[in-house]
Each structure stands twice: as C-alpha cells, then as structure tokens.
C-alpha cells in the first residue's frame, strides 16, 4: 500500500515536469491573486479609518474631541469658528429612533405574513413587491418626500397632533412638514425591506418542531407564532433591527431633502415637529461649499468620523447577531 505522497511522486515523474510545475505555480499565483483581491475590503476599511482620523485632526486639535462632540454652535466663518456636533448627533439618533419604532413592527408584520400566514401563491409576488421598495434610489424617496409625502404627514399627522397635543413639548411647533417626523417616517419606509427580509430568513430558520410543540399545547395561530417562532428568533430579529438602524443612520439623500436643514443650536430636535439636521445630511449640504483653507472641511470630516464609528459599531453588532442565528440553521440543531 503506497502512501498518497509516493503515488503523487510517481505520477509526477511520469509526466512533463515543466508543464506541471508551471501549472503548480499558476495555481499558487491564482490563490495569491484572489486573496489579494479579497483583502481589498479590509484595506478599504483601514484606509477609511486613517483618512477620517487624519482629515479631522485639525478640528479635534482645536476644540478637543469631547468639545467637538458636545458643542452646539456651528459657525464656519474664519476667525469666529465654532464647530459642535451635538445637534446633528441628536438629529441622527432621533430620526433613527423614529424609523425603528415605526419601521420594525411593520417589518415584523410583513415577515410574519410572508413566513407564517399567507397562502403559498401570494408569497412570491408580495415578497417581490417588498424587495422593490429597496430598489428605489434614495434621491427619489427624497423627491417624493419633498413634494408628496410631507403634505400627507403635515395634513394627516402633524396638524391633528399640533391641534390636540400641541401643548406637549415633544409636539410643539407649527406643522410645516419638513421636520424630524417626516424624515423618521421616510427612513421607516426605507428600512422595511431590509428588516423584513432578514426577519423572514430568521423566522424560516426556526425548526418546525417549535411550531408543532406550540400547536400541541393548544395554541391558536397567533399564539403559535408568538410562542414558537418569535421567541426563538428573538436575537435574529434584534439583529435585523440593528441592521435597519445601520441603514437609517447612514441614509443621506432622502433625509437631506425632508429634514428642514437647520444649523447650530436651532437644529437640536427638542420637538418632533422641528426642523433639524443629521450628520450625513449636514455633510452633504455643506461639503461642496466648505472653504478648504478653513477648518470647515475638517469639521465635516469630523462629523464623518462620528458617523463612521456609529455605522461600524452598529453593523458589526448586527452581523454578529444575525450570523449567530443563521449559523444555527446551517449546522441544524435537530
């Protein structure tokens, strides 16, 4: 019984060794080349970090990291500079919070509908329709939001809110339509496809024994879904939510067009009906006009760094959560 290596040796000696070694070299070269291309992704992330930190260091040296993050004023005029990111961080957080609060329950409803409750024939077309929501470019969402949706929100949501509960500080202000509420609602619509498709995958990964066990205990349809499926896929759904949060935080164009674009202390979102600004929208609005000789570009890159840190943390967390759940499916538990 010859060993594998000995057999290989024999075959090799019997064939054209030059061509063989050339082939072997090309094999290795191919592997190295493809490895190189794959590491470009890592290189991009590293480069992003380096570029953002280097580009924003002037403004951090001037105001300090904590000073920049907690500052409220925004004045790019040379000589009277003041750059503070707090209003925009709050704007980002508030719009994302609205997006998640409204978008995730709707997405869960859709996911439950598609994975548990709908007849087979309907599933294909409906899921295609939902995926089509993701295909629409964000600038068209912004255009629609600016010329159509804001009037819906203003007339059907904000005016009643303002008339009946306008005395509450969170609903104070005149209903204009271009404010955090509209931006949050558009973001909610935009994260629906992402959250619902990942939730649906997670729900489909729940083993049937869970559902059967719930039914055997006498559960109704909804109770079976709640006990058998939702409970089990909790962390996956949480991961889907975080993915949607990541999408909402990074969304630029649709938000820029409907958020009202306030600057400085006026941009702090003290009320849902107030115009504000997010990190991404301020960068998009001001970058082209920032005087390269001043601190303005560095301040905008500083905002980009904060956004980058948010997005990185959120996306990494989401990947870890979703990965863990879907991995269980592949190395099946039962």
């Amino acid at each position: 019984m010859q060993s594998l290596q000995a057999k290989e040796q024999q075959v090799r000696q019997g064939s054209n060794s030059l061509l063989d070694s050339l082939g072997g070299f090309l094999d290795a070269a191919f592997q190295v080349l493809s490895t190189y291309f794959a590491t470009i992704v890592a290189g991009v992330l590293v480069l992003m970090t380096v570029v953002l930190v280097a580009g924003s260091s002037p403004v951090f040296r001037r105001f300090g990291f904590i000073g920049f993050i907690t500052g409220v004023n925004w004045n790019p005029v040379i000589g009277k500079e003041a750059f503070g990111a707090l209003p925009y961080i709050l704007g980002t957080l508030v719009t994302s919070a609205i997006a998640i609060t409204i978008g995730v329950p709707i997405s869960l409803g859709i996911a439950i509908f598609l994975s548990e409750m709908s007849p087979w024939a309907v599933r294909g077309p409906v899921s295609q329709l939902i995926e089509l929501l993701a295909a629409v470019p964000s600038v068209i969402y912004g255009l629609w939001g600016l010329f159509v949706f804001r009037f819906w929100v203003r007339d059907w949501i904000e005016t009643p809110l303002s008339t009946y509960v306008g005395s509450l500080p969170v609903f104070s202000g005149s209903p204009f339509g271009l404010d955090v509420l509209t931006a949050g609602l558009i973001l909610a619509i935009m994260i629906i496809p992402t959250v619902s498709s990942v939730s649906r995958e997670v729900m489909l990964a729940v083993p049937n024994s869970q559902r059967e066990a719930a039914y055997s205990l006498g559960a109704t349809r909804w109770e079976a879904v709640r006990i058998g499926v939702l409970n089990y896929s909790r962390s996956g759904i949480f991961g889907a939510t975080i993915l949607g949060l990541g999408r909402a935080v990074g969304e630029t164009m649709a938000v820029t067009m409907v958020i009202g674009n306030a600057i400085g202390p006026a941009a702090i979102p003290t009320s849902l009906l107030k115009a504000s600004q997010t990190l991404a929208s301020l960068i998009a609005n001001e970058f082209n006009e920032a005087d390269p000789t001043s601190l303005h570009p560095a301040a905008l890159i500083g905002l980009g760094l904060i956004l980058f840190i948010f997005a990185l943390l959120i996306n990494v967390l989401a990947q870890l959560l979703v990965w863990k759940v879907l991995k269980v499916k592949r190395g099946s538990v039962e």
Binding site: G23, G24, F30, Q31, S34, T35, F37, A38, T39, I40, V41, V44, L45, L47, V51, P105, I106, L108, G109, I110, I112, F113, M117, G124, V126, S127, Q128, L129, I130, E131, L132, L133, A134, A135, V136, P137, S138, V139, I140, G142, L143, W144, F147, F149, P193, E201, R247, T252, A280, N288, L300, I301, G304, L307, F308, A311, L312, N315, Q319, W323
Partner: protein, 293 residues
C-alpha cells in the same frame, strides 16, 4: 391578527405605489427628445434637459463596473474556493487562511450597507485632493467601493452553489485548480454572478451622496474631439442623474421641478428595469442572496 399583518403589508405597499404613480404622472409630461438629449439650459429659464446627466450616469456605471466587477468576482472566488477549507493537515498556513477568510467575509458583510457619504469622504480625501479637481474617476472609484461587497457576496454564494461533483470531474480530467475555477466553476455559476452584478449596478445607479463629494456635477457633455484630446475627460467633473435630480429639486423654479420629476422618471426606469429583469429571470432561485442586497 391576520388582518394586522395584511395592514402592515399595505402600509409598505402604499408608499411604493405612490412613488411610482407620482414619478410617472409628474415626470411623463417633461419627457421629450430635446429633454433627453440636450444639456441644461440657463438657470431660471425653462428649456434644456438632462442629456449630459444620462451620459454621465452611463459613463460612471461603466467605469465603476470595470473596476468593481473583476475585483468583486475574484474576491468571491477566494472566499468560496479557498475560504472554507476542510484541511487534513493542521499547518499554520491553513489556520491563517481560515481565519483570514472568515474575517474577510465578516468585514465584507459589514461594508455592505455602509453610509455612502463616508465612502464619498474617502474618495474625496484620497483622489479628489490628490488629483486637484473633482473628477469622473473619483466618482467611479467611490461607486466601485460601494459595489464591491455586493458583488463579492453574491459571487461567493453562487460559486458555493456549484456542486462538488463538477470540481471533482474537472480534477479527474487533470485540469489545474486555477483553470477549473475560471473556466468550469465560474461558468456554471454564471447566472448567479450576473444576478449579483446587475443588482449591484442598479444600486450604484441611484447613489447620490458619494457623487456630491466626488464628481460635483457639471453642465457640459463629456466629449472627445479626437482620441488624444478629450475635453472634460476623466479628470474633470461630470454630471449624473441622481445628482441632477437633487440639484433640480432644490431650485425654486417650476421648470426645475418639472425637470426633476422627468429625470426621476428616467432614473427609476433604468433602475427598475435592471431590478425587475433580474428578479424575473431568477424567480425562485437565489432567494436568500437577492433579499440581502
């Protein structure tokens, strides 16, 4: 309960329907041959069109695909072929390879839905500042960075779907691994890879934020008088449809609003045609892959 879920679906479908209806209704009157082929007119006066924006979008799509597709497919090949190695010998290199591939796959997924404006800042600080002007090539590189993770992931997933018997058959014929991967495996997984590529191209057609920081937008056509003298060439600003839509939407004139809707109609036709073609052609297959793009 069933009713509640149906209501959720309706809540998602109504905005989609409204967007499509509004874009078609408002944009159709603006479409005309002059609108589609001429450059923008004077700001403040009606007339002119989005011809150079369409041209710019096509150029950017082509250029970024040229950069992004080979890179993405090769990266997908690495993750699929050399990634999950079931090794017999526990050498140091195979451990390194396994760690590398799982972390690269993780980073790739992280980069997929990254804020595109941060990619724009990256392209600005590296290419625009280095070259001294806003340029087409900067925009193309920014878009290819956005395109890369999508192409990589879909390529990896569709190459993994190729049954092992095909690779074994190629090995039995004495075909080297590199040759087998490129000729046999890749052409077997052709439809999946093409799906991913088309979806990625549809995605970058609609991207605006990185373009604001890299191509700036312009009002002239990209043209080459002869092969050696290109005015407004790759090193110069160029216009693009989504960028043009944004700028038109913010102008206070009625004609600008009209043109914005018209441009939006053209953009949505391009994007939805790509998307619907892909989804119709791969109905049922690659379900998981498509939904996570």
């Amino acid at each position: 309960m069933f009713g509640l879920c149906v209501a959720c679906v309706a809540l998602a479908v109504v905005p989609l329907a409204s967007i499509l209806v509004e874009v078609v209704l408002n944009g159709a009157p603006a479409l005309s041959p002059e609108f589609l082929t001429s450059g923008p007119g004077v700001i403040g006066e009606a007339g002119g069109g989005i011809g150079n924006a369409i041209q710019g979008t096509l150029i950017l799509m082509g250029l970024s695909s040229l950069i992004g597709i080979p890179t993405g497919v090769m990266a997908g090949i690495y993750l699929a072929e050399f990634g999950d190695v079931v090794f017999v010998g526990h050498s140091f290199l195979t451990h390194v390879n396994s760690f590398l591939s799982s972390s690269l796959r993780f980073l790739n997924n992280v980069l997929t839905q990254f804020p595109s404006i941060v990619v724009g800042i990256l392209a600005y600080t590296t290419i625009v500042v280095a070259l001294g002007s806003f340029s087409t090539i900067a925009g193309a590189i920014a878009l290819s960075i956005i395109m890369l993770p999508i192409v990589t992931r879909t390529a990896e997933e569709s190459i993994k779907l190729v049954p092992g018997s095909i690779r074994d058959a190629a090995a039995a014929l004495g075909i080297r691994k590199w040759r087998a991967t490129l000729s046999v495996v890749l052409s077997t997984s052709r439809s999946g890879v093409v799906t991913g590529v088309l979806l990625a191209m549809a995605r970058i057609t609609g991207e605006t934020a990185p373009l604001i920081l890299t191509v700036l937008g312009s009002s002239v056509f990209f043209q080459c008088d002869s092969l050696s003298s290109c005015t407004y060439s790759l090193g110069h600003p160029v216009d693009a449809l989504p960028l043009r839509i944004w700028r038109l939407a913010l102008l206070p004139y009625d004609y600008a609003r009209q043109q914005g809707w018209g441009a939006a109609l053209v953009l949505i036709i391009i994007v939805l045609t790509l998307n619907i073609t892909v989804r119709l052609a791969t109905r049922g297959k690659f379900g998981m892959m498509r939904s996570r793009t």
